[in-house]
Symmetry: C2
Subunit: 101 residues, 2 copies
DNA sequence: ACCCTTGTTCGACAACTATCGAACGACGCC
DNA sequence: GGCGTCGTTCGATAGTTGTCGAACAAGGGT
């Protein structure tokens, strides 16, 4: 089964934005941006593994991440270069933690 | 009744992104970015006026636009300065028309 | 071979959202 | 005052999405 990793240019902008417009997924993206390639299991944000798997699929199908198998785990990484090339400033704008004031 | 125009810093990023993650709303935002302040009625993107009104409210409540009454119309404008300050690069990244290839 | 760990998939369910027509309200104009 | 325009709000509906538990599949270790 192919991992469904689309060409980023083929994904409508609205899909990319929708993928980022969820708190859990944004936390995943932040963790990936900071920690680099990580196993799915490392994202414990208070949701079940079924839900986590769902969110990872949404991110993957929106062209935001790539996944590869590694033993019994799967390693996920941000497609940062492509993202920055196609949407310069988007990730930076979204990832930056804003001051609470 | 106040027009519900929140402080941008009080709006969660996910709300801003969700507001942009819709094709109709993105067209509205693009039109505003190009044409400046415009009347609600100038956005005819194949939806009813009820739906248009709904989308304009979503944009307003996400802090993306401001609305003011002007006679029988209402003029909407993009809060571009604030947006660019708080999320530098976001609008630029999203507004740029992608090459179809 | 067995089991444990890691993820995915499958319903199911609740919540949200985009859409519409119709009713309503506000304003300007004749 | 009366009418037409512009826009909002209401109620309904169909579709999408976030969430879960349970079942399943694939690997690694012992």
């Amino acid at each position: 089964m192919e991992p469904h990793e689309p060409d980023l240019t083929a994904v409508p902008v609205t899909n990319v934005l929708a993928a980022l417009a969820d708190d859990v997924r944004l936390q995943i993206v932040r963790a990936l941006a900071e920690g680099g390639e990580s196993a799915c299991g490392s994202f414990d944000f208070g949701v079940s593994k079924a839900t986590r798997s769902h969110h990872l699929r949404v991110l993957r199908e929106a062209g935001l991440t790539r996944t590869r198998a590694a033993g019994t785990s799967r390693l996920v990484r941000l497609r940062r270069d492509e993202l920055d090339k196609l949407y310069p400033g988007l990730l930076d704008a979204v990832l930056t933690q804003r001051p609470p004031a």
